[in-house]
């Protein structure tokens, strides 16, 4: 199997290199064929691995590929850990990536950067695979930053747009804030465990439970809490958790296929995956778990609210992604890692579907993204319409859809959790269900139903998108429906992840939830009588009432709740604050240090000042050497007089 493991990331890398370096030679078709073949092979092999590890239950693989470097007795290695967790992620990543590759043929059809785009998304697939397949912290960080790089390149893909190159810079820097914490977390791990390998670290984590670390002198903090929180800061960057969420909505400046692949299905879930992977560490610190659950709850609720006021179709989906990532984070904080991962997987399918469907709409609308100029698209684009409906239903957790099972799993788990903050989180995710349903169906109705608000020219050319676009939609719609029912039992209650995820017995909320579990039908029936279902239904109804029945109402509400609306439109002021305080502050500080410190003080006063002092002194000296005889004679006479005066005064004193 080793060569299979090796081939899985290398095939997309090869595709990326060929398409990137020889793009002009192989042409457009060549570029999409070589990358699709690479990712296709990778998907196929991931399926093989999935069958091998998950279905057949083979022993996990943990092995080194090569030694990156050795320093101070620490082996830094590149290696793979293929267990149930990574095998699942590999399949999700490669499958969604393959769909996006195919879809791109249609979406980027006319773009001059066609080959470059395929090269980037294949490179992304490689990076993401290296991240999830890693068996150590070093490679995790490699993959972590590499996906960040590709995300940067892709957000700025249309580099002549000022908004795009602003967004990609912002995304990279905000992610670096997260990586800053992440790197310090890794440093802490290395300091205390003397190893970068997951296996070694996890095996010794228990014995470090009571170790403390002094970040501030004489203040003892639990080592596990510090490591857990520092690593989670990295996850907050990559998985766009409050307050590092600010980059994700702007990342919509990138082409839609990558919004689906990177900014919904895979890269942004890296943080969730990472925390799940680190479960043996998080289980040892309730402080860290508490921190995680609170951050997740804030993100899940408040980011969902922002989705209500967006007018750009992609931004609605983006805020929805933020909110759903918050749900996953909440699950992690409640120690329901499996539920978080389950939602990650179902979300990957239905959110990729929603993004690609949005993209399909955007193609049909000639790259118009404003929902206020859409409406009534149902009859023009039936496949997009129906797949969007499937995606939206899955997103709001309609009973039977994949999202229903995974989201209900999270809500139930949080309900049972006793971690500080879980109470708050429960209400956040519960009310969040209503918000989710409201913004999802607001978008759905605005786009596909109601009056046709586009101009005549656009309307005349409206038609369903080509097969390369619709086939991926259909292929993603299938798992969006069925994955939940198939996998809820093993994943949430059957120990699907096996040894890959560790949950301390006292935190095992899923086991508590599982006690009442009576099978898929029972779970669904139970779902019909619980709050989330009715909240979702209420959300859809409200959306229907506001945007179908009484389309005049939203404007009225907007006027009434003027202040709230303003707060939401300004995204709680985070962007303005960051722009002013951090970006402006850094420039101001830099300017001050440069002009005051370097130019005025060091160069002006010390360096040039001493040069001037020497110059002045020698200037004075020079005047004494004028070369005129009478100057020298004058000086001699003065000198003689002074000497004489001295002698005379001595003589007088001596007298």
């Amino acid at each position: 199997m080793y060569s299979v493991y090796l081939a899985i990331p290398l095939a997309p890398l090869l595709g990326a290199l060929v398409a990137g370096l020889f793009g002009r030679a192989i042409g457009r078709a060549g570029a999409h064929w070589v990358t699709i073949l690479g990712v296709g092979l990778s998907t196929l092999l991931s399926l093989v691995v999935f069958m091998h590890i998950v279905v057949d239950g083979a022993e996990p693989f943990n092995g080194t590929v090569y030694t990156w470097g050795i320093s101070d007795g620490i082996q830094f290695q590149i290696g793979f850990l293929i267990d149930r967790l990574s095998a699942t992620m590999m399949l999700v990543v490669t499958f969604v990536s393959l769909m996006v590759h195919i879809y791109t043929i249609g979406y980027m059809h006319e773009d001059p950067g066609y080959q470059r785009f395929f090269s980037y998304i294949s490179l992304f697939t490689f990076s993401m695979l290296m991240l999830v397949m890693s068996n150590n912290f070093l490679q995790l960080f490699f993959g972590w930053e590499a996906v960040g790089l590709v995300s940067y390149l892709l957000i700025g893909f249309w580099y002549t747009r000022e908004s795009a190159i602003y967004a990609n810079l912002k995304a990279f820097i905000v992610n670096r804030v997260g990586d800053f914490g992440f790197l310090l977390g890794i440093a802490a791990v290395l300091m205390y465990f003397q190893s970068m390998d997951y296996a070694t670290v996890f095996a010794n984590a228990e014995s470090m439970k009571d170790t403390t670390i002094q970040v501030f002198p004489d203040v003892d903090w639990s080592l596990m809490s510090v490591i857990g929180i520092l690593l989670f800061v990295g996850a907050m960057g990559k998985s766009a958790q409050f307050p590092l969420h600010v980059w994700l909505p702007d990342s919509m400046e990138g082409p839609t296929p990558i919004s689906a692949l990177i900014h919904a299905a895979t890269m942004v879930t890296a943080g969730i995956f990472m925390v799940a992977r680190m479960s043996p560490i998080y289980e040892l610190s309730e402080t860290a778990l508490s921190f995680v659950i609170v951050i997740g709850a804030i993100t899940a609720f408040f980011m969902g609210l922002l989705g209500l006021v967006q007018t750009d179709i992609k931004r609605v989906v983006a805020y929805s992604t933020l909110s759903q990532l918050g749900y996953m984070t909440v699950a992690l904080g409640a120690s329901a890692y499996a539920a978080g991962m389950f939602h990650l997987v179902t979300h990957a399918f239905f959110k990729a579907l929603l993004f690609l469907a949005a993209g399909s709409v955007i193609i049909a609308m000639h790259h118009e993204q404003d929902m206020r100029k859409m409406g009534g698209l149902r009859k023009y684009m039936p496949i997009t319409y129906w797949t969007s409906l499937v995606g939206s239903l899955a997103l709001i957790g309609f009973p039977g859809s994949a999202g229903f099972f995974s989201k209900d799993g999270i809500i139930e788990a949080v309900h049972h959790s006793h971690i500080p903050g879980a109470g708050l989180a429960y209400w956040a995710v519960l009310i969040g269900v209503f918000v989710t349903a409201l913004y999802s169906f607001r978008m759905f109705f605005l786009v596909f139903h109601g009056k046709e608000r586009m101009d005549d020219h656009t309307r005349e050319h409206l038609h369903e998108t080509p097969a390369v676009v619709t086939v991926p939609l259909v292929l993603l719609a299938i798992p969006s429906v069925i994955v939940g029912a198939f996998y809820i039992e093993p994943v949430l209650f059957g120990g699907y992840f096996g040894e890959a995820i560790y949950v301390a017995p006292e935190h095992d909320v899923l086991a508590e939830v599982g006690e009442g579990y009576t099978g898929v039908t029972g779970f669904m029936l139970h779902g019909l009588v619980t709050a989330p279902f009715w909240l979702a239904a209420a959300g859809v109804l409200t959306a229907w009432f506001l945007y179908m029945k009484r389309p005049d109402l939203p404007a009225l509400i907007k006027e009434r709740l003027h202040l709230l609306h303003k707060v939401l439109v300004h995204k709680y002021g985070f962007d303005d604050f960051n722009q002013f305080f951090f970006a402006g502050g850094a420039r101001g500080l830099g300017s001050m240090l440069w002009r005051l410190g370097d130019i005025k003080l060091i160069d002006g006063l010390v360096v040039n000042g001493s040069a001037r002092a020497v110059g002045w002194f020698s200037g004075v000296i020079r005047h004494m050497q004028s070369g005129y005889l009478y100057h020298y004679a004058f000086a001699m006479i003065i000198g003689l007089l002074v000497l004489l005066g001295w002698f005379v005064s001595r003589w007088f004193v001596g007298l």
């Binding site: 470097g69 320093s71 490699f142 590499a146 580099y159 670096r176 670390i213 970040v215 440069w594 360096v607």
Partner: protein, 506 residues
């Protein structure tokens, strides 16, 4: 029959020096093509000659290798004494690797006194190799000072409009520092009755003397690194220097300072180093953070990269001097070697990356004759291949994993975490600041709409530029994904140095 021992180091030192003289004599004023051909041949030959230093290197020992020793000035016991260990050998290879690239980069650009220009670089290459290979303090000092002359000429003759101010600043700064070093060396000679650097490592020196010697060395090396606050000569020198001068300055000359610390300061004055390590760490962290902010607001491309260099060199000195805090804090030296190796890795990698970035600026400057960021914008539209290379180097300069820029910074951060959380915290701020100044610059220069006529008419890089940037890109990536070949060379010497440094000399 080859002489035994084969004088490999002498060849690496003298081939370029004599080759430089040959270029002057053979090509003269008029015959630029001959000058280029000879210079290229000599620099490539020197590189090839230096390769056995790596391939024949004995990884199992910290002892000096390829040693040559002849009496030079008998009265004072001064020897012509060369040798390398795992600390100096990679730096020599860096020098011999960069110089041919510099020669190629001058191919069309330098039309004025071509032969003299190339000769200056070749002679400087030999002298720099001499600095790294010298095992006799006076020999070291001779190479060290001699090296200033060609660089002085390069900036003074082929430099920009403010070149006279810059050269004088450069020369005075570095010369002033070195004079104190000479005094310290003479004092040490009086104690040890030898100028052999390895003898100076073992000679006993009292605490007061150690402190004074340490400060004398510090003045010499801190200027070269350069450390805050004696760094202001560097941005001026870079801005005025021709591209090749900037490349050599950033890629190799700055490393002299770092090398001095590990070859002189730490082993000769270990107790003073331990006593004053707080000062070194403080200055290093100031360099990383303060200069990082300053780099952010630069409007001149070369100044930006110059400030970025200072900030990155902060990691070198931090890695070198963090060992004592680790020993104090954790009671063991575990982790200290990682800091030192990280610091040295940072020197090598910065050689590639800063060299590449200055070459990139050179590519732009040759076409547009301006270094102002504001004069650019949208370069990617007319120079996509160049933009891709620049992206790689800018990312490497931001310490992206997978590039060599990551390796040293990563190791130093890991190591300094063991000493103190806040050291690592401040050092890691380069993740943010580095990304900030690098990518913001990239955004303004490369991305965006075509800013003006000049940018619109830019031609993408030619084969010669492709060769240079491609070569550097290859090593940046190679040592990013596989730094082991460099790390394993350093390891025995670093271990030995650490063992030596923690033993008191009092």
């Amino acid at each position: 029959m080859l002489p035994d021992p084969f004088p490999l180091l002498s060849l690496v030192v003298w081939t370029p020096i004599l080759g430089g003289l040959w270029v002057l004599l053979a090509a003269g004023e008029k015959n630029a093509p001959t000058a280029r051909a000879i210079a290229l041949a000599i620099s490539v030959a020197t590189f090839l000659l230096s390769i056995p230093l790596y391939t024949q290197f004995d990884l199992s020992t910290h002892e000096m290798q390829f040693v040559e020793r002849f009496e030079w000035i008998q009265t004072f016991g001064i020897y012509y004494h060369l040798g390398v260990d795992g600390i100096s050998m990679p730096l020599i290879l860096l020098t011999t690797f960069i110089t041919p690239l510099v020669v190629i980069s001058a191919w069309q650009v330098i039309q004025y006194k071509t032969a003299q220009y190339l000769a200056a670089f070749l002679i400087m290459e030999g002298l720099m190799n001499g600095v790294f290979a010298a095992l006799d303090a006076i020999l070291f000092y001779v190479f060290w000072e001699a090296m200033l002359v060609p660089m002085f000429l390069i900036i003074g003759i082929w430099g920009g409009p403010q070149r006279i101010y810059a050269t004088i600043k450069f020369f005075l700064y570095t010369f002033l520092g070195s004079v104190f070093m000479l005094v310290a060396l003479i004092y040490l000679y009086a104690q040890a009755d030898s100028f052999a650097i390895l003898d100076l490592h073992t000679v006993k020196v009292g605490m007061t003397a150690q402190i004074l010697i340490f400060i004398a060395f510090l003045l010499a090396f801190a200027v070269k690194v350069p450390m805050w606050p004696v760094h202001t000569w560097l941005p001026d020198a870079h801005v005025e220097a021709p591209t090749g001068g900037s490349v050599i300055l950033a890629a190799i000359m700055l490393k002299m300072g770092g090398y001095g610390f590990v070859r002189f300061s730490l082993p000769i004055t270990p107790d003073a180093s331990r006593e004053l390590d707080w000062l070194m760490i403080a200055l290093s962290l100031i360099a990383v953070v303060y200069i990082g902010f300053v780099a952010l607001v630069q409007t001149d491309l070369k100044k930006l990269i110059a400030y970025s260099s200072i900030s990155h060199m902060g990691f070198v000195t931090l890695g070198f001097f963090v060992a004592f805090s680790i020993l104090e804090g954790t009671g063991s030296l575990q982790g200290a070697a990682m800091g030192m190796e990280g610091g040295m890795m940072q020197m090598i990698s910065h050689g590639f990356i800063s060299g590449a970035l200055f070459l990139c600026v050179g590519v732009l400057y040759d076409r547009m004759h301006t270094r102002q960021i504001a004069d650019y914008g949208g370069v990617v539209n007319s120079m996509p291949i160049f933009a891709a290379f620049m992206m790689l180097f800018v990312m490497a300069n931001s310490g992206l994993p997978g590039t060599s820029g990551f390796v040293g910074e990563f190791m130093v951060i890991l190591s300094s975490f063991k000493a103190n959380f806040w050291f690592a915290f401040l050092a890691a701020s380069i993740l943010l600041l580095g990304a900030g100044y690098n990518l913001w610059m990239y955004k303004r220069v490369i991305y965006g709409k075509v800013a003006n006529e000049g940018v619109a008419s830019l031609k993408d890089i030619n084969a010669r530029e492709l060769l240079i940037l491609g070569t550097l890109a290859a090593v940046v990536l190679l040592f990013g994904v596989w730094p082991a070949p460099i790390l394993e060379v350093m390891h025995p010497s670093v271990e030995n140095l650490l063992q030596h440094v923690v033993q008191s000399k009092l």
